[in-house]
Structure formats: structure tokens, C-alpha cells
Amino acid sequence: MESWLKKTLTVIAIFVAIVPLGILGTWNCGDAWGEWGEVQDTAHGINWAPQAYFGAPLPDYNVEGWDSMLMASVGYWISAIIGIALTMLVILGIVKALEIAREGK
């Protein structure tokens, strides 16, 4: 493996190790603007919830029911590892498909 690739994967692994900071740092905060599950805003007289059309297997990067800080961190770790593996696999799959398409021409 090329040295830069090894180094980059090491850096990614370090950031995966500390990824729970991404959820613990916002533990008592609201959601990002416009990403609320429901809106109860008395100041503007708004009581609204978005329609949800699909369910995801690991909603909010967590296993459903893992609500404590510790378990949510574990869920976040699992999500980061699955997400990164999937991302790289999908990219490599796309590249393979593009190669096949190019050879077919």
C-alpha cells in the first residue's frame, strides 16, 4: 500500500476513535436548523411536524433504544465504521462499473 494511503487511513481511524465527540458535544443542543423531528414554536405560533416517508436502519447514527451517552457513543462508532466502509465500497464499485462501461465501448 502506498505510504500516503496508509497515513490517511490511520488519520481516518483516529478520527473514528474520537467520533463520539460529534454527538457528545451537542448532547443537550437542539438539531441542526431545519432538521427537527417536530416544531413547537409558540413565539411564531407554529406546531408542525414533517411527514416522514422512509425508515432508516440506523436512524440518527444510532441503534434504536441506545439512549444513554455511553450506548449512543457506541452506536455512533458503529455507524461511523459502517458508513466509512460503505462509502469506500460504493466508490470502488462505481469505479469498477465505469471501467466496465469504458471497456465495453
Partner: protein, 221 residues
């Protein structure tokens, strides 16, 4: 900036997919022509980096949260068409597996974060690079690009009360200041520092990795 399902009306969702389909087509076409053996692993790890940096949320003073995207960094290293693919893949996996960003809003989210952001970042970087060097221009590009993307997201949110009642309840008067605060004050500075740090490190230690083939309009080699 991941717009969930139920916030954008059907017309907005349809228009955003309609805009993204040719963008995706050209991105894949150009990538198929130009990705070499050295660029492929870089594209894979940069897509993973984008996925990962979007998991690092921090609080914004108004009670919301924000994160960076990594689109400018990817556009600087591999070109904006490559960034379209890398960020799109991260957003698709976030939407389908983790419920982050809606499926119906995927066209809009890809438009903001996987198209507008990397193209803005790439062209700002290219415009400044000759005058102020790679580090400063990458910082400025990353800062401005994420803010442009955030304003597009704010407009998509904010027009809904006028065109699609029952969807996003807040108009432009609230969406634009809120999205701008989060990104001018927090996500922009973080994106600037992280992007410039990586570009600065590469310039010093591995300048060859900044000279990879760029999958960009007008770049023939």
C-alpha cells in the same frame, strides 16, 4: 444542511433532482474518462473523509448544530466533478442508512453540498491561488463555499411557505439568518482551518498529491 423529508414540497424536490441528473451524468462521464490508478484510492478515502467530517457536529449559539462537508478540499485535490461523486456517495449513504437528510430531498442536498459547494470552492481557489498561495486561498475558498451552499439550502427551506404550505414552516426571513449564522460563524471557520491545514500539509510534505489529475471543466489532461 441535510434537509430531511417533509420539509420541501414536491415541486422543489422534483426541480432539484432534475438539475442534479445531468450533473451526475457529467460527473460520472468525466470520472470514467479520467480517473487513473492513483486517483481511485484518493477518491475513495476522500469520500470517506467527507462522510466522517459530517459526523463531527458542534453547537451553534442559537441552539442548533452545524458541521463541515469537505467538498472544497476534495475539489482542490481531485477536481469538482470528482467531489460531486465523493460527496454524493456520502450523502446517499447518510440518507438511506442513517436517516440523515431525506430521500425526497436528496436532489436538493446533493445540489447544495455535492455540486454548489465543491464548484464554488474550486473556482474561488483557482482564482486566488496565483496571488496568495495555496494555504490562504484554500481557506478562503472553503469558507465562502460552505456559506454559499448554506444560503442555497436556506432559500430552498424558506420558499416553501410561499409555494408549498404544509412543508417547511419558516420563510426566508428566518431561514437565511439562521443558516448564515451557523455557517458564517462556525462551519465556515472550521472548514477554512481544516481545508487549509490539509492543503498546507500536502504542499509541504506531498506536493505530488496536489498535482493529481483534476476532473474539472476545461482540464483536458
Amino acid at each position: 444542511m441535510h434537509i430531511p423529508d417533509g420539509y420541501l414540497g414536491p415541486a422543489t424536490c422534483a426541480v432539484m433532482f432534475a438539475v442534479m441528473i445531468p450533473v451526475w451524468y457529467f460527473a460520472f462521464k468525466r470520472a470514467g474518462e479520467k480517473l487513473g490508478p492513483k486517483e481511485v484510492p484518493m477518491l475513495a478515502v476522500l469520500s470517506a473523509v467527507s462522510f466522517l467530517v459530517m459526523m463531527f457536529n458542534w453547537p451553534v449559539p442559537d441552539g442548533t448544530t452545524a458541521h463541515m462537508v469537505g467538498g472544497t478540499l476534495i475539489a482542490i485535490i481531485l477536481g469538482p466533478w470528482a467531489a460531486v461523486i465523493a460527496v454524493t456517495v456520502a450523502l446517499v449513504i447518510q440518507a438511506f442508512f442513517f436517516g440523515d437528510g431525506g430521500i425526497t430531498a436528496l436532489g436538493a442536498n446533493c445540489f447544495n453540498m455535492a455540486f454548489v459547494l465543491p464548484f464554488a470552492g474550486y473556482y474561488i481557489y483557482r482564482a486566488l491561488e496565483g496571488r496568495m498561495g495555496k494555504i490562504a486561498s484554500s481557506a478562503i475558498a472553503a469558507y465562502i463555499a460552505i456559506n454559499i451552499a448554506a444560503i442555497f439550502a436556506a432559500i430552498e427551506f424558506g420558499v416553501q411557505p410561499y409555494i408549498a404550505p404544509g412543508y417547511c414552516p419558516y420563510g426566508l426571513n428566518l431561514s437565511i439568518p439562521a443558516m448564515s449564522l451557523a455557517h458564517l460563524a462556525t462551519a465556515g471557520p472550521v472548514a477554512a482551518v481544516v481545508t487549509a491545514a490539509v492543503v498546507g500539509y500536502l504542499e509541504k510534505s506531498r506536493p505530488d498529491l496536489l498535482e493529481l489529475k483534476k476532473i474539472a471543466p476545461g482540464v483536458t489532461e
